[in-house]
């Protein structure tokens, strides 16, 4: 019985709470974000700038933090969503969001979409409707510890390398007694990011029409990817993460326990602070096939029920402006002009992120193709985890996941 209270009580409380807040002041724009700490401070600064440019408007920044989805869901369920909100899961929320196409067409010049890479616009587009403007992004890369490579006499990885290169290099760092490894394999990766390896091996989770997974998610290419990672655990080329233990790859990399670490922009500031002398390189390819990265992007969206969509749009427009994009130092700028002005594309640390972005506009993330993807993904995640724990047998696990997901594809 308690369970049900937990589901409904927050909705009631939130409704009462925000109902009261709404009366407090006129021309208040509510902006919800999942960020905290530094990233939150940056957004508050952007909101402050917007307030300065628009006297009489108060932007109320609501930091929902880890419980973002729960709180947003509750606010929407209670009919009182924030006007503008951070968004990535467009298929789940699209019916509560305002398509921005008309606004963008109207302010076409100010928006200058040519300045925003196509791969980034793809993430908020469903059936031609644009439900959000990208605010920041990251692609996936490999961080490597330069000092460890020098000490082991292993040549540093170069763009254009392959997984075979990575494995050969990783094997040279293996030292089980010292718990030092060449690489780390996550047994419970986020399937969202993990699809990049299938893309890079010439397959995908689900067909572009969102109707078929059989023969794709469980294709030999997909099984090859899973078995390769499982094999790296078996041969101790890589340490396994997330098997009954929550030691993170970034913690190991920062402590000099792994020589290479596959991650994204969100790991960078922590690694900077650790003082590790590191380099960044593009993802390795599968035997020379074209590499393709997952795109992790946050976007800002407007609630369909917003009391003042015009004002909300002004805020979104400002959030996408070169001025605001340049203020976001905790992820990568979504505007090419801003990246160029800051010289990022020539910086050896930042360049691989942009190089990955340049080649990552061909595939669409699975969750945009099927509304039930969240359920299918659960089965997939189990198949990946089972393969890593069993150190192989990917085909059987993937077949099982496909069979279990059939009922969501009807």
């Amino acid at each position: 019985m308690k369970r049900r209270h937990l589901i409904i009580a927050p909705a009631v409380l939130t409704a009462v709470f925000w109902g009261g807040m709404g009366l407090a002041q006129d021309k208040v724009l509510r902006f919800a974000t999942w960020d905290s700490d530094e990233s939150l401070a940056i957004q508050e600064a952007i909101a402050k700038k917007f307030e300065e440019a628009n006297p009489g408007v108060k932007v109320q920044v609501e930091a929902y933090g880890d419980g973002y989805d729960d709180k947003l869901t509750a606010a929407m369920g209670a009919g009182s969503p924030p006007d503008v909100m951070y968004m990535w899961n467009f298929p789940s929320y699209k019916e509560a969001l305002l398509p921005l196409n008309d606004f963008i067409a109207r302010d076409g010049e100010a928006m200058n979409l040519a300045d925003i890479p196509e791969g980034l616009m793809n993430i908020s587009k469903i059936d031609g409707n644009i439900y959000g403007m990208p605010a920041g992004f990251t692609t996936q890369v490999v961080f490597y510890n330069k000092d460890m490579f020098a000490a082991a006499g292993v040549p540093e990885p170069q763009a254009g390398w392959t997984w075979a290169d990575l494995r050969a290099g990783a094997a040279k760092f293996r030292n089980a007694d010292e718990k030092v490894y060449g690489f780390a394999v996550d047994a419970k990766p986020d399937p969202y990011d993990f699809e990049q390896f299938l893309w890079s091996n010439g397959t995908r989770y689900i067909s572009d029409d969102g109707k078929t997974i059989d023969g794709l998610m469980n294709s030999p290419e997909a099984a090859e990817v899973l078995n390769m990672f499982a094999d790296m655990i078996k041969t101790e080329e890589a340490v396994a993460l997330n098997i009954g233990d929550d030691t993170s790859g970034s913690a190991l990399f920062k402590a000099g326990k792994i020589a290479m670490f596959q991650s994204a922009m969100w790991s960078k500031s922590g690694i900077d602070e650790s003082g590790v002398n590191y380099g960044v390189v593009m993802l390795p390819s599968f035997g020379g096939k074209p590499v393709h990265s997952a795109i992790g992007a946050s976007a800002v969206s407007i609630a369909k029920d917003s009391a003042d969509p015009e004002l909300a749009w002004e805020f979104v427009k400002f959030f996408s402006s070169p001025e605001a994009v340049a203020m976001r130092t905790n992820d990568l700028p979504v505007r090419t002009s801003v990246a160029e002005a800051q010289g990022m594309q020539d910086d050896p640390i930042f360049k691989p992120f942009f190089d990955m972005l340049a080649v990552s506009n061909k595939e669409i993330h699975a969750f945009l193709k099927n509304a039930e993807w969240g359920r299918i993904q659960e089965n997939l995640a189990v198949a990946i985890e089972a393969t890593m724990i069993d150190q192989g047998n990917a085909q059987a696990h993937l077949d099982e996941a496909v069979a279990a997901s059939a009922r969501f594809l009807k």
Binding site: M1, K2, R3, R4, H5, I7, I8, A9, V12, D69, D70, T73, M76, G77, S92, Y93, K94, E95, A96, K179, K188, I243, G244, D245, D246, G374, R375, E378, V382, E385, A386, I389, A404, R407
Partner: protein
Amino acid sequence: MATATATRRPSRRKARGAGITPWLFISPWILGFLFFTLGPLVFSFVMSLHDWPVVGTRTFIGFENYTTMVQDDPQFWKSLWITVKFGALFVPLNIVLSFLLAVLLNLNLRGTAIYRTAFYLPSVISGVALVTIWAWIYSKEYGLLNYLLSFAGIDGPNWLGDRTWAIVAITVASLWGLGGSMLIFLAGLQSIPKELYEAARVSGVPPWAQITFITLPMLSPMILFTLITSIISAFQQLTIALLLTDGGPVNSTYFFAMYIYKTAFRFHDMGYAAAMSWVMFLIILALSMLVMRWSAAWVYYEGQARKDDADA
């Protein structure tokens, strides 16, 4: 019948004379019950008859959520089975261990107060802190448990990373909160009249028989209470599993309550989650009623016994 009504009338008028004052006194509870228990209860049932996404249109679908669950959703049966397995481990262990601890504490040895505090203390710790502690204990490489096992020459398993051991690990972590039922047993033990044991001792009844024929019957109401509350908490197991394993490894600790939680907040399918909540409610209700019925055979109430004696 008529006379009965007639004789009762004055007292009823008296109650009316008291006006709404008594109602005002209990109104916080009544209002709380209406708004936070009965309201959501009814609302969730209405929800369970709908396709109810968090955003977008709600459609009435009758009992389709319930039929889908039973006919098309293997995960429903799997997570229900995991919960039953957990209950089969947790419920007996919870009762036996809290009973044994209570018996030990009742021996009046030196330092009883310290032990009593120590045994009860874990019940005070909130879920998240408790999980953090157990994550340290269970860690394969650096965990306390495997460190201790290594002294006995045992190479401990990866407690939270092994399909078989994870549910055992969660059971043990859940048992940490048995302080509450231990106190109930302790209070029960202390209310048993000493004369019963003295009489037994004088008659030469051996200690084990004293437990079987005096302690257990006298404690049977507490055992019944603990049995029912343990069954309920076994079915509602969520926090520890969610934080310790998140259902893993490979869904081996994917409890029924977790499936409900994820259906609501990860898959945003409120109608289906509400329907599953109702199924859980009915299962708990049915089990509780079965236990209550069965309890007539073994629960001994002092008051009732005296009445029976008097009748006889």
